[in-house]
Symmetry: C2
Subunit: 220 residues, 2 copies
Amino acid sequence: MQSSNAAVVVFSGGQDSTTCLAWACARWPRVVAVTVNYGQRHQIELTAAREVAKLAGVEQVTLPCDSFRALGGNALTGSEAVADSVRAETGLPNTFVPGRNLILITLAAAFAWQRGITEIVTGVCETDYSGYPDCRESTMTALQAALRAGMDAPFTIHTPLMHLGKADTVRMIRDLGKLDWLAHSHTCYRGERPPCGTCPACRLRAKGFAEAGIPDPLIA
Amino acid sequence: MQSSNAAVVVFSGGQDSTTCLAWACARWPRVVAVTVNYGQRHQIELTAAREVAKLAGVEQVTLPCDSFRALGGNALTGSEAVADSVRAETGLPNTFVPGRNLILITLAAAFAWQRGITEIVTGVCETDYSGYPDCRESTMTALQAALRAGMDAPFTIHTPLMHLGKADTVRMIRDLGKLDWLAHSHTCYRGERPPCGTCPACRLRAKGFAEAGIPDPLIA
């Protein structure tokens, strides 16, 4: 009962996964957005995910995962104050949850398996790598092999943003005619709406829109 | 700060992972038993894990994972009555959580990463495969590659039971001088102690001890 006319999008409600959702909706007649609630510091991220999915007219499912918070020691789920600092001992940003994307994508794949869906879409991107090894293409290739073997299903992990810069990502969703979806997507590390404009995530987003010469509908 | 003198054992408190714990303790001076609380139907499994770890004198850590229960539709965490039936639509036992071992081992690896440990031990076994694709050696090889790539660390997944029958597993822990640890390990699907003796898990365990010609200390 495997279906090649459907896809699961790993969907945080941020700019990249919103762009992936638009990409998937243009490609498959049935798309399910899977959001993992791993104790994000800001619940606004989950609200954004619901809003964008509603706008897109796709089913959105939220899966809980309380493991990351227990693993602790990171800024996205913990209480560390500065999201843009770098953990001295590893050289990785302190937003790093080791293996985070491995877990998120595997959970999405388990859900997809239950629905008979084999196409998984994720917004991981090697270009603005930021020190995250779980965003690399080589990791996705290895993970795809593990998912196929471990669930005995012909999964494909699609990574439409893998080699794009932020400006290209902005152009992609514009060309897909879904720029307005980004008015609901959340990016700000500080959880502010309108966004703070000064945190690293806001700055990266602003740079992409500026380079593309397109106004950000979240701000406009 | 990676340490090759330590290992993490993916530790359920059952017969196989108890045998793995004994195997690991004979091999590394420092061993941490990582138990994932994924909403096991019987809390006795978590109690058994704590008891065996205490007997072994190793640190035991319990990580929560509420994702499996949300994914639902399985006997180990759900409310389906019959643990030994087979789900008609897949031909897999209804104790199957798709990708369960992928998640459990990835969580253990994330924990290990934080401790600078690269050696992961799991009791997965291809011999009594039971229809679980996430127990196969090919899956573990693929997962090892994904963990290495995704966390940028030289993980090795050790699977000492991979090609052993249940009788061999009993002989292994006997030869390691830790047969008494099995008096505290939990196997029964029904969560009974003393074990029911009639569920598939009890029968498989009994068969192994009988073939090895060794009495089960859990029953003796």
